[in-house]
């Protein structure tokens, strides 16, 4: 029709697809970096592998906390560590499998999304111990002796930052932005709202979620709009539990000089103007503890829950956020924390 053809279209197309696939495979390969490291002390000879969730090890949040735990286990206990950052969701299982076939002693999957993969591999490799952060058993799956679920009572930590929000709000309206609408994230909202109402019964909590698919944790544009709408409704502080979607919440806060509360790790750096505190989930503590269990031969399958009493959750109060978080507020909230640990306050989770 027009132009001339060097080769028949079918041959060229096939070759092109080949090239594109090769480029793609190369990119995926580079994405999944396997980094070895050295050993020391009582954990010598124990191999711990860790597979990150979509955010990757530098997500300034959940995955990064897991990574800190792994690095601490390596430095303090001398275990051999390896980690894999899968680029695509479908690579998660093959990453776990790679480590399992290499006879690692403990393999950790970071994130609830690893659940079904961990269950399948735990059955296939009964000699390998597995641990899943935020793991909850799938329908019909009981306790597997070589699979530990490391879970957090996020509602307890959320209760405390809720109390902070309730104490520092001036408009009596506080916001919550959730990522994917699942029971795990709902726990944050329920605990938060309970904390707000404990110290400020007249306060209103406006809550919104970014969606019902995993991508709801990676949509900062939508997070920005959710936060803009809540600040527009009169909220003057917003707690987010939405992964990277929260970047949009911080962007909205920065622009207005409004206040926000971070999640999982200390997120002060995301918006030093505005992040009053963060609800920290000590994934690092959970990782170090489970590695210690393996070394001591005390590993047991089933759910391990970490709450305030186990230092598994908490909030940030240090020099950096002191100007936004008055000392009397911290004292009141610490008193609430003690009551929760003592069992005098029961924090709802659903």
């Amino acid at each position: 029709m027009q132009g001339f053809r060097l080769l028949s279209p079918a041959v060229t197309a096939r070759r092109l697809i080949g090239i594109l696939l090769a480029i793609n495979a190369l990119l995926l390969g580079v994405g999944a970096v396997i980094v070895p490291s050295s050993a020391r002390e009582q954990g010598k000879g124990v191999h711990v592998g860790l597979v990150f969730d979509i955010g990757g090890k530098n997500d300034k949040s959940f995955n990064e906390a897991a990574w800190r735990g792994l690095m601490r286990a390596q430095a303090e206990l001398g275990v051999e560590t390896r980690f894999i950052e899968p680029t695509e969701g479908s690579d998660r299982e093959s990453a776990l499998r790679t480590l399992a076939t290499k006879k690692f002693d403990l393999i950790i999957g970071v994130g609830f999304i690893f659940g079904p993969d961990l269950e399948r591999l735990a059955r296939q490799f009964p000699d390998v111990k597995f641990a899943g952060i935020d793991y909850s058993p799938s329908e019909g799956v009981g306790t597997l002796p070589n699979l530990a679920g490391l879970r957090f009572r996020e509602h307890e930590g959320s209760f405390l930052v809720g109390a902070i929000a309730g104490l520092v709000t001036r408009t009596k309206v506080v916001g919550f932005v959730g990522g994917m609408k699942i029971p795990l994230i709902h726990k944050f909202e329920v605990g938060y709202a309970a904390g707000v109402h404990r110290v400020c019964p007249a306060c209103r909590v406006v809550a919104a979620y970014a969606g019902t698919e995993p991508k709801a944790f990676a949509d900062p544009s939508l997070g920005q709009e959710l936060a803009a709408a809540q600040y527009g409704q009169g909220a003057d502080i917003i707690f987010h539990a939405s992964g990277k979607t929260g970047d949009g919440v911080f962007a909205a806060a920065r622009q207005r000089g409004a206040r926000a509360i971070g999640v999982d790790s200390d997120q002060f750096d995301a918006a030093p103007c505005c992040v009053v505190t963060s609800m920290v989930k000590r994934v690092d503590v959970a990782v170090v503890d489970i590695v210690k269990d393996v070394i001591a031969g005390k590993f047991r399958g089933g759910i391990h829950e970490l709450g305030l009493a186990e230092h598994g959750v908490g909030f940030v109060a240090d020099e950096r956020n002191r100007s936004m978080l008055p000392i009397d507020v911290v004292e009141k909230v610490n008193a609430l924390a003690e009551q929760i640990i003592a069992g005098k306050i029961r924090v709802p989770s659903e």
């Binding site: 029709m1 027009q2 132009g3 053809r5 279209p9 060229t12 197309a13 092109l16 697809i17 594109l20 696939l21 480029i23 793609n24 990119l27 995926l28 580079v30 994405g31 990150f52 979509i54 955010g55 990757g56 090890k57 530098n58 997500d59 300034k60 995955n63 950052e85 680029t87 695509e88 916001g175 609408k181 406006v206 809550a207 919104a208 979620y209 969606g211 019902t212 991508k215 990676a218 949509d219 900062p220 544009s221 939508l222 997070g223 920005q224 709009e225 959710l226 803009a228 709408a229 809540q230 527009g232 409704q233 990277k244 970047d247 949009g248 962007a251 909205a252 920065r254 622009q255």
Partner: protein, 290 residues
């Protein structure tokens, strides 16, 4: 209910709809222009994602949002050039090219994050337009493109040749013009528009996040088809999607007893219904054929 109504009939709501619509609308206009010339444009997602990345990266390095926007546009053009090159010079299957580019965009932006910034999922911060509407040049770009594109397609030589390349390439050859050239020109303009849409994603927030395009490119392409490959109508369809998204936000924060998931479904259901009611317009006659 009154709370919902006061929310919906407020200036802030209108501004929010506009902001949400901009990436969709720019991508859809880009897709409409490209496809009208006869090139299947499944790579909108890749242009959004690379556009968002380049805008954040350039914005970070130069500390200028405007230069970031230029970077986003350039990235969109670059992706379009690869796409058009594979389709029009190497005669590869256009659907496969689109899918391949989208996959490369997901992994490639992560790869570049790692190489350039040693980060797994985030770029360092860049200047942000935030949620201001009137001072955001990308919003203006979208408005101007919406006004100019239909006219350009209908009245200018560029538009005439572009449409001829999509519908009657033989007629174009008969007058001594090259369909390939018209298609290249269309694809590059389309890439620029989609790249600008990507720039809005990262420059509004002030940073790039892996996978932040969140399937917006695919939805934009559906709106192009829904609008019968007419750019202004595609923008209208995108405004509809954005309004439904904003409504779903409003429903959530005003505590109306309607599940927000239901409202979230609204754009897709609306699309399906409209597709069934509106008499389907046929695609450009030689779409995907070289």
């Amino acid at each position: 209910m009154t709370q919902l109504l006061t929310t919906v009939f407020s200036l802030a709501f209108v501004a929010q709809v506009l902001r949400i619509a901009v990436p969709y609308a720019l991508a859809a206009m880009g897709g409409a222009v490209t496809e009208r010339s006869g090139v299947i444009d499944l790579a909108l997602e890749a242009k959004l994602l690379f556009g968002a990345f380049a805008a954040a990266a350039v914005g970070h390095v130069t500390d200028s949002a405007l230069l970031g926007l230029a970077g986003g546009i350039a990235a969109g053009v670059a992706v379009a050039a690869i796409q058009a090159g594979c389709a029009l010079v190497l005669y590869a299957d256009q659907v496969i090219i689109g899918i391949a580019l989208n996959v490369i965009a997901t992994a490639g932006t992560r790869f570049l994050l790692q190489i350039l910034f040693h980060e797994g999922a985030n770029s360092p911060p860049c200047p942000a337009y935030g949620d201001a509407v009137l001072t955001n040049p990308i919003v203006w770009l979208a408005v101007i493109a919406t006004a100019v594109l239909p006219f350009a397609l209908r009245r200018t030589r560029w538009g005439l040749r572009l449409r001829a390349a999509g519908d009657r390439p033989d007629a174009l050859i008969a007058v001594g013009a090259s369909p390939r050239r018209a298609r290249f020109a269309a694809a590059l303009v389309g890439g620029a528009l989609a790249g600008a849409g990507g720039a809005q994603l990262s420059l509004a927030v002030g940073g790039f996040t892996a996978d932040m395009s969140s399937s917006r490119g695919y939805i934009a392409l559906v709106m192009v088809i829904l609008a019968g490959w007419r750019p202004a109508r595609a923008v209208l369809a995108c405004l509809g999607v954005a309004a439904a998204e904003a409504l779903s936000i409003a429903f959530q924060i005003t505590d109306i007893a309607v599940p927000s998931e239901l409202v979230g479904l609204l754009p897709y259901v609306t699309t399906l219904v409209v597709l069934m009611i509106v008499v389907a317009r046929r695609p450009p006659a030689s779409l995907g054929r070289v």
